[in-house]
């Protein structure tokens, strides 16, 4: 475990750890890592004492915005975001699904007013497991699958 981290240790940047197994590529898509120029390592199905397996993403020379962290929380609710400076983890935070999810994904209801008026989308968190969020405006409930689809669509 330790050795593995050492191998791909980064000098400055962000390590997203404890990503739900299989979700690393969704997280990568959220962060637009396909088009990112600095080195990115993605490890999938790494064994992890706590939760069986996990995915990890390491990104050189990049910090994440609040918006990005919130979007990650919707696909990988157990992830942690580690900020690395000079090979040291200087900050470590567990992502948290915000109780109000503002402006980070479109509503899956095609007739929702948010598609027609200049307003940021807003969802209220109804349940974490299973994941359910409700559009503040049209009251449509989005499930985990809906969220996955909408986050992908926005990119």
């Amino acid at each position: 475990m330790k050795r593995e981290l050492k191998i791909s240790a980064i000098k400055n940047g962000t390590v997203i750890d404890h990503i739900t197994p299989g979700k690393a590529f969704e997280v990568a898509r959220i962060l637009g890592l396909e088009d990112f120029s600095a080195p990115v390592s993605i490890a999938v199905n790494v064994s992890s004492g706590k939760s069986g397996t996990k995915d990890i993403i390491k990104i050189e020379n990049r910090e994440l915005s609040k918006n990005e962290v919130d979007r990650i929380s919707l696909v990988a609710p157990n992830a942690t975001v580690n900020i690395v400076k000079n090979y040291e983890v200087i900050d470590k935070k567990k992502v948290e699904i915000p109780s109000e999810i503002v402006g980070i994904l479109p509503c899956s209801n095609a007739n929702c007013v948010t598609h027609f008026e200049p307003v940021k989308t807003k969802f209220l968190l109804e349940s974490i497991t299973p994941l359910r969020i409700r559009c503040f405006y049209c009251e449509r409930v989005l499930t985990e699958d809906d969220i996955k689809r909408e986050i992908a669509r926005e990119d």
């Binding site: 007739n111 929702c112 007013v113 948010t114 008026e117 307003v119 503040f136 405006y137 009251e139």
Partner: protein
């Protein structure tokens, strides 16, 4: 959103200086219960929320307050001037004659006046004005806004933009809370209670906005529900889950004969919901209330949000079962109650 409480009048002073008003109320309140008269003689009309957007915002006490206020308003059936000088703007981005007329009637009976437009073609909306801007314009002209809009969630968005109270007169397929409140008022007014009733919902239960909102509101009460709908138009799972969570017993039945209810709420089944006309014609007959149906329905009261097409035979109209025209009429005191309480009216 701040409610303008400028109509707030200290009850005692008002009562002393305005005995005539009280006399008028008493006179028109011949049909009111003693309880209601007691309310009239010393209490505020119950405040409701700042806006009326979604039935999901209403808990049981909120609903009960509206129903109680509506019964007070029946005392003003011949008109009053408690909202004199207040203006209601009706912003109807899509037409709904019934809803608009009943709000206009309610405001007129309260002594207020009404401005507004119907359909977007004639207004600046057609020129690309945002909903928020339209609302911000209207609130300079009026004290309260009723709006109907084709998009789901439009009323909530308007309420965010506005400083005056917004009443949702229907937003797309999402909500039409005043319909639900008048449905509940009709039941309570007629059967004196909602608790303990067996209520049947019949017709298109999948797409019917009114039956979804009504089930949600009824879940605050101690009721049992029965559903009767064509295959493919059953009550959606999320509504059933809500009911289960709230401990409301419900049952899907397949025949009209199976219904054992005190109230039957009938809704229209739209042709467009079926893959072909034949299929629709086949199904239609099983979901029509005719004189023969009354053999199974006994004394059950029949409600319908109207307009009906052919799901209730006109021969039912003259039976004691028919409640749908009264139901439409009860929309007036309910909407009067909402207008008055949102405008902070106090007796």
């Amino acid at each position: 959103m701040s409610i303008d409480w400028c109509l707030q009048i200290q009850y005692v002073d008002y009562w002393l200086t305005s005995q005539t008003m009280m006399d008028a109320v008493t006179h028109h309140s011949a049909g009111c219960s003693t309880e209601t008269l007691k309310l009239l003689c010393g209490k505020n009309i119950f405040p409701v929320m700042q806006d009326v957007i979604s039935i999901k915002d209403f808990e049981r006490t909120d609903i009960e307050n509206v129903l109680e206020n509506a019964s007070i308003m029946e005392g003003f059936a011949k008109g009053t001037d408690i909202l004199r000088g207040r203006i209601l703007a009706t912003l109807f981005f899509e037409p709904s004659t019934r809803t608009r007329l009943s709000f206009e009637s309610a405001m007129n009976r309260l002594g207020g006046s009404v401005i507004g437009f119907s359909e977007s073609g004639s207004s600046s909306v057609a020129k690309g004005e945002t909903l928020q801007d339209t609302v911000r314009m209207a609130e300079r002209y009026a004290d309260i806004i009723v709006m109907r809009h084709p998009r789901d969630g439009a009323a909530r968005l308007a309420a965010e933009a506005a400083h005056v109270p917004i009443i949702n007169g229907g937003d797309g397929v999402n909500q039409h809370p005043t319909q639900t409140l008048l449905d509940l008022y009709t039941i309570k007014r007629t059967l004196k209670t909602i608790d303990g009733l067996r209520i049947g919902l019949m017709g298109d239960l999948k797409y019917g906005r009114t039956v979804h909102s009504l089930s949600y509101a009824l879940s605050w009460y101690d009721v049992t529900l029965q559903f009767l709908s064509p295959v493919g138009l059953e009550m959606p799972l999320h509504i059933k889950e809500d009911l289960t969570e709230k401990g409301i017993p419900f049952q899907q039945v397949t025949e009209l004969e199976d219904l054992k209810v005190d109230v039957l709420y009938v809704t229209r089944i739209q042709k467009e919901r079926f893959p072909d006309v034949e299929e629709y014609e086949k199904v239609k007959g099983s979901y029509q209330i005719t004189a023969e149906s009354l053999d199974f329905l006994g004394d059950a009261k029949i409600l319908h949000p109207l307009p009906r097409v052919d799901e209730i035979d006109p021969e039912i109209d003259s039976t004691p079962n028919a409640l749908y025209f009264e139901q439409a009429g009860y929309g007036i005191p309910v909407r009067m109650a909402l207008l008055a309480s949102l405008l902070g009216w106090k007796l």
